[in-house]
Structure formats: C-alpha cells, structure tokens
Symmetry: C2
Subunit: 349 residues, 2 copies
DNA sequence: ACTGTGCGTTGGAACGATCCAGGACCGAGC
DNA sequence: GCTCGGTCCTGGATCGTTCCAACGCACAGT
C-alpha cells in the first residue's frame, strides 16, 4: 500500500502493474499472472484483478516485458526495392497476411533494409545489428535463390528464421521453410492451354542458373510430355524483363510458330503482349498467353492476363506457424511446407 | 570489478554495458556516455571505451534502453490490403524510402493492421494498443481522405503522428503533414496533351465527395481554361475501378468525341485502354491516355502508359523530417509540405 | 497431534540501460 | 594555503515487468 508514485501523475503516464495491484488489493505478481497465466489464479481473485485492469485501462509496458523476457516479440522482415519496370509486386499480399497472422500469434512485424554502399546493398550488417541489439526475435527471409548468402549466414549463426522459398542451394539446411509448387502452377497453365486445343505451346523462362525458373519450366515440359506433345525449339530462357520477353516471343513466333506462350512471370508475359500488339495480333484470340504471380498488371491489362496465383496468404500463415514452433517451447521439427497455386483464367487464353 | 555474472555465459548472451565497462576499466555510465554523448568524454577515455566496444561487439540492448527512456524508437505504419483488380501499389516505393530514412534517423518501422470484425476493419483499437503499451513512438498515417477518423482521433489524443496527405476535412488540424500537389500533376499531363495538338481532352476522375479527386480535376480544368479550351461535357466522375473507367470512356467517346483522356488514376486509365482495345483503337496512335501514379501497370502495359509520378521517396524523407521535429527536443512548428510530381511520358500519348 | 502435499499468493531480485546527484582531480585566483 | 569553478567520471536509484524461492493455509495420511 506504499505510495510509490506521486498522485496526479497517472494523467500523463499509463498505469502500471503496481497500480493495478494496489487497486485490486493483490501483489504485482498476481496481476502478472492474471495477464499471462490466468489458470493459476482462483476464480474470484482473477475477476477482481481483471476488473481493476479494465477500470484503469492497463496494458503491459512492452519495453519492460521485453527486457525481462529477453524477447522483443518482433519479427524482422527485410524489404528490397520493387524493381521498376517489372510486374513484381507480390509482396503486398504476403506482407499483409504476415502482419495479420503475426498479430494473432502475439508478434509484430518490423521492416528493415540493408545499407546502400554505392550501388550494392549489403543486408547482413542490418541482420546482425537487429540480432545483437535484441530488436527482433526472428526473421522472415523471402529470397532464397541461388547465391543468396542470408539464409546460410543465419543458419550458421543459429538465428531463428523461416524462409519463404526452398533452400535450393543447401540440401541439409536446418531452418523451416514454406514454398509454392511452381511446377504445379505452370503445369496447370499448360494443361489449361492444351485443353483449349493448343499444341504448339512455347515456354519463356529465366536463365538456367535460376533453380526456381527451372522448376517452373519443368511443369511446362511435364504437361507437354505427358500428352506426347513435342517441345523442342519451343523454349527460351532470358532475363526477367519486359523487353526480354518481347524479344524472346518475337523470335519464337518467327522460328517456332507457337499458338500459345507459358511464361515464368507476369513480366515476361507482358513482353509477349508487347510483341502481339506490335504485330497487330490479339492476345487470347490469335495467341494465348499465361503469366505467373497474378500481379495487378495481370488483373488490369486488357484483355486480362491468365496467370498462376500463389497462395501468399496461406504462405504467410504457414510461415507464422513455423515461427511459433521455432520460438515456442516445443522444439518442433518443421521440415518444410509446399503449397499449391491455382490458375486464374482471363481473356488472354 | 565485482563478478556480476558467471563466466562462460558470454557465449550465449550478448555483452552488456557492464561488460564493456569492466574491460575498459571505467564505469557503466561512462560507457553509456561514450555511446550517446561522446563529447563528454576525454579523448583517450573515449577511444579506450570504443575499442572495448569493438572488441566485444557490443550493441545496446534495445529493450533496456526503451524501458529507461520511455521510447521505443519505432514508428507505426498501418497497412491496408491492396485492393485486387486495381493498379494501386504505390505504397511499395513509399514504404521502402520510409524505412531507409527512418533508419538514418534512428528509427525502425513497425507494421500493423486493424482487426477485422466481419467485413469492416476497425483500426483504432490497434492504434490505441500500440500507444498504451508504448510499442511505438509515433505513427505515419497515409489516408487522410474525407471521413477517415484516424487523424482526428490521433489529434485529439495528442498522439504524435505525421500524415501523408492533407487534412482535407480539418482545416485547423495541428499535426504535420506532407502531400503531393495532385493538381499540378494533372495540369502537366493535360498541358502535355495540348502541346501534342489535342484539344478535346476528357477527364475521368472520382466521385465528387473525394476532395483528392476534385483537386486532381482542378489541374485538368485549369490547363484547359488557361488556353480557352472548352471543357463542358468532357468530364466524368466514377468509382476507382477498371470497369468504371471502361464504361465512362465508352460513354465519353460516343457522346463527346474526345481525342485524349486524362485520368485520376492508372486504374481508370486501364479502363480506357480496355475500351480502346474493344473498339480496335490504338492507344497513343488513335487516342491518347494519361494515368496517375506511375504504377507497375503503367510501366509494363503496351504501349506504355503516360502517367504522373508522385515523388514518394521525397515524401517519405519529408515525413521522417517531420517526425524528428515531433519527437526531438525542439518543438518545431511543421506546418505542411507540398511536393510536386512529374510526368513520365510513354507510348500512350 | 504431526508431517507431508498441493494450491494460491507473495516480496525480493533481476533484466540492462539511463538519470541524477555528487566526488575526485586540476588549475586559477585571492 | 584555501577556496572556487570546471571537467571528467562514478555509484546508486530507477524504468515496469517477470523469475524465483518461499510462505500461509487447508486438507489428507500415518
């Protein structure tokens, strides 16, 4: 009952555990238990404390809790600049779902980016700082393409993190991951075109050193081969830019005479639409096109671009599940989750 | 020199201020000063402490610092779901720049969203929780359209925040804001079309209760009127969707025979492109079109959509400047900053 | 009556930083 | 020689929470 603070201060300072304790006539620890382990309290005590909490509008101070529990209840999410001139803006849906799922699990999402030195962006110091200053409990890493050092670095450091994307280059990586079955997506797109009567279906994908690109390509060739449709001369591998897609499709049209294109990205598919527009061909009517990611570009471009839509909302949910397993008590072995995309059919096919 | 912690623990626990102090042979407070007020130290002491810091790889514990200073060094940024089927994804550039500028000012960005109850999303409880639990120091609010209660609520609560967008509905709002001169943007677009020889230039914008939309419309009519070009019958006001843009442009083409369209958004402009495609007209060749926001859609759609590009990077920089003024010592009066966009010309005009 | 066994609750210590009041030291001034 | 003022540094208290050891109490077992 000691007056540990001058009265009248409550108008500027939020109420603390001690204030609630005094009002409810219990000790601080009991209030703490009421918040974190209600089961430990007798029913009448619990309700008395809860009423005091409600009356004062008490909410635990995060900094104090974080200090004591050695946890920040924050999840670090690195963001890269969206490339200009591409259709890639899929992070939006993912981020939003990640924020929602995280909140339900008691976490918030902290954004950060690497420091730019000249042109190259080095992200590792940023990870390091956040870890060492205990600013975040874990990371979500979204790029696990070949040669990306972050996942490996974090693994070595035994820093908790979950990857969106398989550990392509590291078969015995220990961290949890969630990914989307890209091959299944392109296979759906290709099968869809075959069912529409197409047989000469071209592939425009990424350079061979992109394992992600090779996987998507595998979906196309699997669908073709399972119906004994030849694929030779129908595949092209280029950079992920609109102009590359435009040039590749022009060459393919001249040399292989396809009636449809399956692309590894919406960006490449937009390149195909450029070629068609230049030649006075109509997408969907004369030549069919499918993309990948169901970007806003795919949704709005006339006549609508058929595209493979990744279940980013579900990915985020799985990522948070994995994070909970990582940070919670049970040392669960979370191997990896593979989700299946779906095809959104629009006017371009 | 007291052994305040069991040895061997340093391998798992990051070094603390006390560790650095012991190694450098100074008190904790001196280390703290070396980090926060280097001027107070004698030169040789400072370098000795700095060396100890470097050797141990010390970084201040965020939670402890936050607890003591009653600040989280976090800035809350609410995110809304990007609407499907529109071209609006402009947050990407803004967020990235905000993260970068914030880091330079010593802050990180915390994402949050409202809790969905049924269909409506109520964000105010989320703001309230973050404030009361001292999880963030300030907010950045990005939607200040009419009827948005957040800015007003925060103002009343005297919570520190900066708005991206003018306080349209509250002339005597006290908070700092940063905005882009939309009228200047549409005026540039319209003038550009006039210089290309167009005289019948139509406007497709938003419903009248959108002050933001009315401002953009004013830029169009200002450019027209300053050259004595009549505007009657050439304006349309609809919802911000692709289909609305398509329908509005179809009606305008039939009734007013414009040779060019200035649109309040890329989404509406895409609607125009749909109409043109349906009628076998060529954007840029037969009919000129301009959009607003320079979205990825504008950048990738054939033949390229001329669009007004907001200086989002600069907006973020100004927002952080305002935040620093708000949270720093000097109670600066930061009235409001208005930036000018620029026109990115592409094939559609 | 005496000892164990839970349950519900308690007060002190700790997390790691900063705030604050004051101490050691040194040269200047009378 | 003594005080004074300033610079540089120190040790204790504190922020608000959770961890930890232990305590009072009611009840069951020998």
């Amino acid at each position: 009952m000691s007056v540990s603070r001058p009265s009248g201060r409550s108008s500027v300072t939020p109420p603390t555990l001690a204030d609630v304790a005094e009002r409810a006539g219990v000790s601080r620890q009991t209030v703490s238990n009421a918040v974190n382990n209600p089961d430990l309290l007798r029913e009448d005590t619990l309700s008395r404390v809860q009423q005091a909490i409600a009356e004062l509008g008490y909410l635990p101070n995060r900094a104090a809790r974080n200090l004591r529990t050695r946890a920040s209840h924050l999840i670090g999410l690195p963001i890269k600049a969206a490339e200009e001139g591409t259709a890639n803006a899929l992070m939006d849906r993912f981020v939003h779902s990640l924020v929602d799922s995280s909140r339900e699990a008691g976490y918030h999402v902290l954004l950060f980016s690497g420091t730019r030195t000249g042109k190259a962006v080095d992200e590792l110091p940023a990870y390091d700082d956040l870890l060492r200053s205990t600013a975040v409990d874990a990371f979500v890493v979204t790029d696990t393409y070949l040669g990306n050092p972050q996942a490996e670095w974090l693994d070595q450091r035994r820093a908790p993190f979950v990857a969106f994307g398989r550990p392509w280059n590291d078969p015995d990586a220990r961290h949890p991951w969630v990914d989307v079955d890209g091959a299944a997506g392109t296979e759906m797109a290709t099968t869809h075109l075959i069912e529409r009567g197409h047989t000469r279906i071209a592939w425009i994908g990424w350079r061979k050193d992109s394992l992600l690109g090779e996987e998507r390509r595998a979906g196309w060739s699997r669908a073709m081969r399972s119906r004994d449709i030849p694929t030779s001369g129908l595949a092209s591998r280029v950079e992920d830019t609109v102009s590359s897609g435009r040039e590749a499709s022009a060459v393919l049209l001249d040399e292989a005479h396809p009636s449809a294109f399956v692309c590894a990205s919406d960006t490449l598919a937009m390149g195909v639409l450029h070629t068609l527009a230049e030649r006075g061909l109509s997408a969907g009517h004369d030549i069919a096109v499918t993309g990948f990611d169901d970007s806003q570009v795919a949704q709005t471009v006339p006549p609508g671009l058929t595209s493979v839509r990744q279940p980013l909302e579900d990915v985020a949910v799985e990522v948070v599940k994995a994070l909970e397993g990582l940070l919670g008590a049970p040392p669960t072995v979370h191997p990896g989750v593979l989700l299946t995309p779906r095809l959104v059919v629009r006017g371009s096919s």
